[in-house]
């Protein structure tokens, strides 16, 4: 049994323990310990009923912990009350765990870490590695998060919106450590989509698949960031694109548009274009209009300005930009891009220098510096922008 299959069992096993009377924090610890034991015990031979095995071992770990605890009375109550491990809905348990781990009382960072551990079954060390923090720090973050939700009733219905936002945040963490966190976010969203019928969950899954499909083309062999128009589209994963488009179409057919569906629709239009020149920018602008209506986000308006620049010309893109606050993240990069399309290389080069200074990561900074260098080289060579 591979690691991902084993980890798929985690939320439902936690659910069984909680229904037997364990509190969430203790149940989660016990299941983690059982996982460690499973990796050892199953090396040669996977049990016929892996979930049953995990429940048994996790429950024993839980009782050991209670026994070690000073509260003897509570232990006796629990042992006396040891129930049959009824078949009661593990689907519901898993869904409840998603809600609990994305509870609005948690900070986004805490919710992401707790989701990866309790729903994803990753170890604290793996999560710490992915977020580039010491393991002790991540352990504290997770145990504080567990304390924060200690009083939340497990059977409370949560908000799908908070769950999808947490999963989106996890997806965007990317993959710096040994565990591919983006792939894990997709696995968790896929699992959620299978148990909860909601068009925005479908929209998020489609968005993730469509973005993930482009990943092989996004980073060059030397670590360089490759912007969308320059990507080798033959590297895009057509299987993931087809799956994402299928999921998106089914979601859109339900006529309950949300922001993730709209974002996925834009990603689908990019995926659909055989070359950058053949991109349907007019439709993309329409989707950005929908997104502005749904979110009223300045970042969406910034992206919309790029789309307008492509659909209607750089001059109109710059006009759309004029209404926006120039301190927005990536404003300078967008302005530089549009200035270059408009033929103003000097303004574009200046914009890229400013954008590089304000970049939030190294790959982006290096990319923007290279853009500035490219334009400055052209200016030095006296290339007539109208000639190319």
């Amino acid at each position: 049994m591979n690691d991902a299959l084993l980890r798929e069992l985690v939320p439902s096993v936690i659910g069984v323990l909680v229904r037997r009377g364990a509190d969430f924090a203790a149940a989660e610890d016990a299941v983690q310990e059982a996982l460690v034991e499973a990796v050892r015990a199953w090396r040669d031979d996977t049990p016929r009923d892996p979930k049953g095995w995990l429940v048994t071992v996790a429950w024993r770990k839980f009782l050991d912990a209670v026994r070690a605890d000073s509260s003897r009375r509570r232990r006796e109550e629990l042992v006396d009350a040891e129930p049959a491990p009824g078949p009661a809905g593990s689907v519901d348990d898993t869904l409840q765990l998603y809600f609990l781990c994305a509870h609005p009382s948690l900070s986004p960072n805490a919710a992401a870490a707790l989701t990866l551990r309790a729903v994803g079954g990753l170890t604290t060390r793996q999560i710490a590695d992915a977020y580039l923090v010491p393991e002790a720090t991540m352990a504290q973050r997770i145990s504080r998060a567990k304390r924060t939700v200690a009083d939340v009733r497990f059977d409370q219905v949560g908000d799908v919106g908070t769950v999808v936002r947490v999963l989106y945040l996890v997806f965007n963490e990317g993959y710096s450590g040994q565990v591919d966190i983006a792939a894990e976010a997709i696995r968790l969203t896929r699992q959620l989509a299978a148990i909860a019928d909601h068009e925005e969950i479908a929209g998020l899954l489609a968005l993730m698949l469509l973005h993930h499909a482009r990943r092989p083309a996004r980073i060059a062999g030397d670590g360089r960031l490759v912007p969308l128009p320059e990507q080798d589209r033959s590297l895009w994963d057509t299987g993931l694109i087809a799956e994402g488009v299928g999921i998106l179409q089914a979601a859109l057919a339900r006529d309950r548009l949300g922001e993730f569906q709209a974002q996925a629709a834009i990603a689908a239009l990019h995926a659909d274009a055989p070359s950058a020149e053949e991109t349907d920018w007019v439709q993309i602008v329409e989707w950005y209009d929908e997104l502005v209506r749904l979110t009223d986000s300045p970042v969406v308006r910034l992206n919309r300005a790029v789309a307008i620049g492509e659909a209607d010309g750089a001059r109109l893109g710059l006009a759309a930009l004029a209404d926006l606050d120039d301190s927005l993240p990536r404003y300078d990069a967008v302005a530089a891009y549009l200035h270059e399309r408009d033929g103003d290389l000097r303004a574009a080069a200046r914009g890229y220098v400013a954008a590089a200074a304000a970049a939030s990561n190294l790959a982006e900074r290096d990319h923007l510096t290279r853009q500035a260098a490219r334009l400055n080289a052209r200016l030095r060579a006296g290339t007539d922008p109208a000639a190319d």
Partner: protein
Amino acid sequence: MWVAITEENIMGKYLLLKHYRGAPASVNDIPMDQWEPDEVTAHLQYMRDLASRLEETGEFVSSQALAPTGTWVQFGGDGQPPVTDGPFAETKDLIAGWMIIDVDTYDRAVEVAGELSAAPGAGGRPIHEWLELRPFYGVQASATE
């Protein structure tokens, strides 16, 4: 008093500090956005190659780059919000990033810093950037009383 015969005073971790401002001027002191794009690529490749060589020799610990923005912050007194002063004045030292290495000797640390400073810049020529080399305080050796 008994002092163990070790090389604890020279072996250990060193910080290689790179400055945006505040270091003496480099020989090849042209801002990166004025280089040819290929020279930018070559520079970044040199830095990556050096880091992987130091990983292979078991001397690399970590490296980190800092954004060129920052603020001075100070305790503002009981019940008061912190006092901020920034962005950093143009005349102040501005750290761009660092690399931490764990090496056997001080000479080796100097050698690595020299290699880092040889990274190619405009015209493909070494930048000869000044880097600050700072030893970490080590741990108290068990054999020292």
